[in-house]
């Protein structure tokens, strides 16, 4: 029965993705992609990766859809396919052959599991009990630091390109009770995910995306217009996460002589401190990626 579930799910994902990429209607493509994201989150759950499913849920349901819808309204109508049928046929053949080769290569690769033993061996000294959080913020914290830097680089690019700030229309009086319940719930869930990330699935990224979703509801409902002043504060907050993480890396270097190797016994405090700063900073960055960054210099 669960095999039937997996088969139906994967067929659904593939079909939705194909329909999404083949539609001529912009709203249809974007909504199709969001629905594909829902199904993909289900498949992460089935693959035993609840941390990834949480992140996909928080980002895919909230931010990606809003971002794509914003752009779909501004871009020109879909251009017709220009490639001639013979060209398309050849490309389809090559893509299918590549996909087949990829499936064969992954399936026959000898999956020597090196990491699980290493992770479970060191988990006790990492300060947390959720192995994914341990990998993200202790064993490979260096990667996470660079990831925040990548987010910040994208933010700088958005600032240079400067897309127009979204101007949501008024949505009527029913929005107020809705926002009054949803926004505090988002903030509460973000805190919950951040705190429980140490032991069970959750963590800074999920919490940050959740918080960004709440802020998007505020912005789209017309309760918090993205003024330049507010956006400057957001940009400041976005920088705080990177700054705290870098300072923590340097502090750990001074204390232990190795970059991002936390002193014995205090790892939990380091991780929680970094995660709290990252949550706020990720929420600010995701929001600014949606509404743009002010171009005038910060005061």
């Amino acid at each position: 029965m669960s095999l039937a579930f997996d088969i139906l799910l994967t067929i659904g994902i593939f079909f939705t993705a194909a329909a999404t990429l083949g539609m001529r209607d912009r709203v249809g493509s974007v909504v199709g992609f969001v629905v594909a994201g829902l199904l993909v989150a289900l498949s992460w759950v089935r693959l035993g990766a609840p941390d990834v499913a949480l992140a996909e849920a928080a980002i895919g349901a909230g931010l990606t859809g809003a971002l794509l819808l914003r752009s779909s309204g501004r871009l020109k109508p879909v251009e017709r396919l220009i490639s001639p049928p013979s060209h398309r046929f050849i490309v389809a053949l090559i893509a299918a052959a590549f996909a087949g080769a990829l499936a064969w290569a992954v399936y026959t690769a000898s999956g020597a599991a090196l990491y699980p033993a290493l992770v479970s061996e060191r988990l006790a000294s990492s300060g947390v009990t959720n192995p994914v959080t341990a990998v993200l913020l202790n064993f490979r914290a260096w990667d996470t630091l660079l990831e925040i830097a990548v987010l910040f680089a994208a933010l700088i690019l958005v600032r240079i390109v400067a897309p127009a700030v979204p101007q949501p229309v008024a949505l009527g009086e029913l929005m107020l009770p809705f926002a009054r319940i949803i926004v505090p719930m988002c903030a509460f869930l973000a805190g919950h995910l951040l705190w429980q990330g140490a032991s069970v699935p959750g963590g800074a990224f999920q919490a940050g995306a959740m918080l960004a979703g709440g802020l998007l509801v505020l912005m789209l409902g017309g309760f918090a217009a993205p003024t330049p002043r507010l956006m400057s504060w957001g940009a400041m907050l976005a920088l705080v996460g990177l700054a705290v993480f870098s300072l923590a890396a340097l502090g750990a270097e001074v204390l232990t002589g190795t970059l991002l190797l936390y002193p014995d016994g205090t790892a939990k405090f380091w991780i929680l401190g970094i995660e709290a700063a990252l949550t706020l900073s990720i929420a600010a960055m995701l929001c600014l990626l949606f509404c743009g960054v002010p171009r005038r210099p910060l005061k």
Partner: protein
């Protein structure tokens, strides 16, 4: 093991679909969507091959998690660029 095979097939199918769309389509939004589908396919291959005896390896999970966050940043940057390019054509 069979269910892993299903997800491996689906993942590589998504990769193939995304590559086909990337090379036959000129529309910018659809290209950004194709890139997203490509990333989902790769992530699915990663996670499906990370399962050993019912437990999913934590290191690939962390990679995929990082990938999702980076992907949304890349998407936002590309969309901002696409809007700018479309605006340029009008002038």
């Amino acid at each position: 093991m069979t269910s892993d095979l299903i997800y491996i097939c689906a993942g590589s199918g998504l990769v193939g679909l995304a590559l086909y769309r990337l090379s036959t389509c000129r529309d910018m939004l659809l290209r950004v969507l194709s890139l997203n589908v490509l990333a989902v396919g790769v992530a699915m291959l990663f996670l499906a091959s990370a399962r050993h005896a019912g437990i999913t390896d934590a290191v690939p999970q962390a990679f995929v998690l990082t990938g999702i966050v980076v992907l949304v940043a890349v998407t936002a940057a590309l969309l901002a660029l696409a809007e700018r390019v479309d605006g340029q054509d009008d002038e």
